[in-house]
């Protein structure tokens, strides 16, 4: 087990290193300059700005400096937000995105799994069609449309909830609903499919044949085995949700990480984009690592192979 964790750690570090390198050179090969996109600067001012951020040095030197700083966990200064480090920007925006993400997951995961189980158990009945309908609708309506409609209905028409911003519990309701609905829908779909697979397995029949009460057949034998694909799916899902969703954050004017992702790339804010990519990548690697361990707990076959 120790050896396995160590091995995974080395692979993770290499992954992040490759990710940083590729993204670095890819970004820098983009046409345009970070200081030209909005206001037209004079050539001298631009040159001064480039020198200030060290962008005038040879690319390889910049790369080595960046990687050196990265080793210390320093992601550098943002090119767009004057005098703010990427670290501090992440530190202020991430908790907001993470809160929204966690609440949405806390709503979506239990409900989604529950609906998936009910749907599969009642296959072909009205309840099943209802769950399938909800989940298909959920995956078919893009979140920005869902968000706008929620705003229109609850904030504009009935004025029950604030339309945007991130201030109180009331402000959290609409973005949470908008985000969790699509999560819930895809969880329901996957759980239903997985349950249908498990329900017909021989070991479920064995459990019934030995007289295990039906509720325990469901919890101990069916759900537990059906969870395996869900766990695989949860890693990337949790990572992407906690990193913030640009659309939801834009519609509801939430100062989370998601907006920085898009704004920094379109604004050619090299350091910010790179920092966010590395942050996201590391988070995803970590999430997948946790998933693998959880996998081992759920499915002993995988545990042993390691």
């Amino acid at each position: 087990m120790k050896k396995y964790i160590l091995q995974r750690l080395v692979i993770s570090v290499i992954t992040i290193f490759v990710l940083a390198t590729v993204s670095f050179f890819l970004l820098r090969s983009l046409p345009g300059s970070p200081f030209q996109t909005e206001t037209l600067l004079s050539v001298e001012t631009e040159a001064r700005m480039m020198a200030y951020y060290g962008l005038d040095k040879p690319l390889l030197e910049q790369y080595l400096t960046y990687m050196g700083n990265l080793l210390h966990g320093d992601l550098g200064y943002s090119l767009k937000y004057t005098n703010r480090t990427v670290n501090s920007m992440i530190a202020s925006a991430f908790p907001i995105s993470a809160t929204l993400g966690l609440i949405s997951l806390a709503v979506a995961v239990p409900i989604g799994l529950f609906l998936g189980v009910v749907s599969a158990r009642k296959r072909g009945k009205t309840v099943d069609y209802l769950c399938v309908f909800i989940s298909v609708i959920g995956v078919s309506i893009p979140s920005f449309i869902m968000g706008s409609f929620l705003q229109y209905i609850f904030a504009v028409k009935f004025q029950l909830l604030p339309i945007a911003q991130w201030k109180s519990l009331k402000h959290m309701v609409l973005p949470t609903v908008a985000l969790s609905l699509s999560l819930l829908a895809s969880l329901t779909r996957v759980m239903r499919a997985s349950m249908l697979e498990v329900i017909n397995q021989d070991y479920v029949k064995t459990a019934r044949a030995k007289g295990v009460p039906e509720d325990k057949v469901v919890t101990r034998h069916e759900i537990r085995n059906a969870m395996v694909p869900i766990v695989t799916m949860l890693g990337p899902m949790v990572a992407s949700v906690l990193m913030g969703t640009f659309v939801i954050e834009k519609i509801f004017a939430i100062p989370g990480l998601g907006q920085h992702f898009v704004n920094s790339i379109t604004g050619l804010d090299y350091t910010m984009t790179l920092g966010l990519t590395i942050f996201y990548g590391s988070f995803l690697v970590l999430a997948n690592f946790i998933v693998d361990i959880a996998y081992g707990i759920i499915d002993p076959r995988i545990r042993i192979e390691k």
């Binding site: 992954t15 992040i16 490759v18 990710l19 993204s23 890819l26 970004l27 983009l30 046409p31 399938v132 298909v136 609708i137 995956v139 078919s140 309506i141 893009p142 920005f144 449309i145 706008s148 409609f149 229109y152 504009v156 017909n200 992407s240 990193m243 640009f246 659309v247 834009k250 519609i251 992702f261 898009v262 790339i265 379109t266 984009t273 966010l276 990519t277 996201y280 990548g281 995803l284 690697v285």
Partner: protein, 309 residues
């Protein structure tokens, strides 16, 4: 002992002459796999409804711009922001452009991006995953490591990067999808090939001296085709969604060319005043995605041999 037997012919208890052992003739008509799939798909009303809506939307997308008196960029500022009426079926936007025409021109873009943006990456993924899984060894390891690293980046970041490189427009979106979307399907095709390679019937035909090409075309591809077709169908709504998303953040299709995402984006700016300008394109996005999802679900159920009873 048998009361019924007394009404029998006198030769009832004679052996049948030349007893042909005819029970090999099976009374149930044998159905081939694909025939069976089609039959089940046709029986699935929900999937057929999805197909029907997709067809209608496609026909409208092709015909409406051809036969309309308006064009998608012709402005009529006097009639800006008009509500739906008999002259402008879906009303007009803030520049007085006819929404009915714009929506269906937008449908062309969105559908094209949806279909090609799903099929092309899948095809690339099938080829790479197939090669990786079939030949295995170092090449396989290299490809898989590459995918592992590449999957650690949110695909949105890559797509945006690529879009910045090659500029906006429907073709750019498809290229961006092709470059980023193949990894998932490559991985799953590789997994399937690895599984199939171990199957007895593949081993058997190998033992009988089948060539690589005949193995790939006769066994591996037909057996993975179903899953691939389903995942392509399911990929279409998500490609439509990504196009809408990209247009929504201003990177997709450049104005004045409309796409559903772009129309929704424009609609969001004014939806508190003119809700129809958001509702129409977004309803169409949702309806199309819904139809493709329903059709894909039906296709998957029809292809699942376990349901074949």
């Amino acid at each position: 002992m048998n009361k019924t037997t007394n009404i029998l012919l006198p030769n009832a208890f004679e052996f049948v002459e030349d007893p042909q052992l005819d029970s090999d003739s099976i009374t149930r008509p044998s159905v081939t796999f694909w025939k069976d799939v089609w039959r089940r798909l046709f029986k699935n009303k929900v999937a057929m409804l999805g197909l029907f809506i997709i067809t209608i939307i496609t026909i409208l997308a092709i015909c409406v711009p051809l036969f309309s008196e308006y064009t998608y960029k012709g402005q009529d500022l006097v009639n800006a922001n008009a509500l739906p009426s008999s002259t402008h079926i879906f009303g007009t936007d803030n520049l007085g452009r006819d929404m009915w025409v714009r929506v269906w021109v937008g449908a062309r873009v969105s559908l094209a991006v949806g279909v090609f943006g799903s099929v092309i990456p899948s095809l690339i993924g099938i080829v790479i995953g197939g090669i990786s899984g079939y030949f295995g060894g170092k090449l396989d390891m290299l490809i898989m490591r590459f995918i592992d690293v590449a999957m650690c980046v949110p695909s949105m970041i890559y797509i945006i990067l690529i879009m910045l490189f090659i500029g906006s427009g429907p073709i750019s979106i498809i290229i961006a999808f092709a470059l980023t979307g193949w990894m998932g399907s490559a991985r799953s095709v590789r997994g399937m090939i690895l599984q199939l390679k171990e199957m007895e019937y593949v081993l058997a035909s190998k033992a009988l001296g089948a060539s690589s090409a005949s193995l790939i075309f006769n066994h591996l591809i037909p057996n993975t085709l179903g899953i691939v077709v389903v995942s392509m169908t399911m990929g279409i709504p998500s490609a439509i969604f990504y196009e809408a998303y990209l247009s929504f953040i201003g990177l997709g299709v450049a104005p004045p060319t409309p796409s559903w995402g772009q129309l929704s984006n424009a609609g969001i700016a004014v939806f508190r005043v003119y809700p129809s300008q958001l509702m129409i394109p977004s309803a169409l996005i949702s309806l199309t995605m819904l139809s493709f999802n329903l059709f894909g679900d039906g296709l998957r159920d029809a292809l699942d041999p376990k349901l074949r009873s």
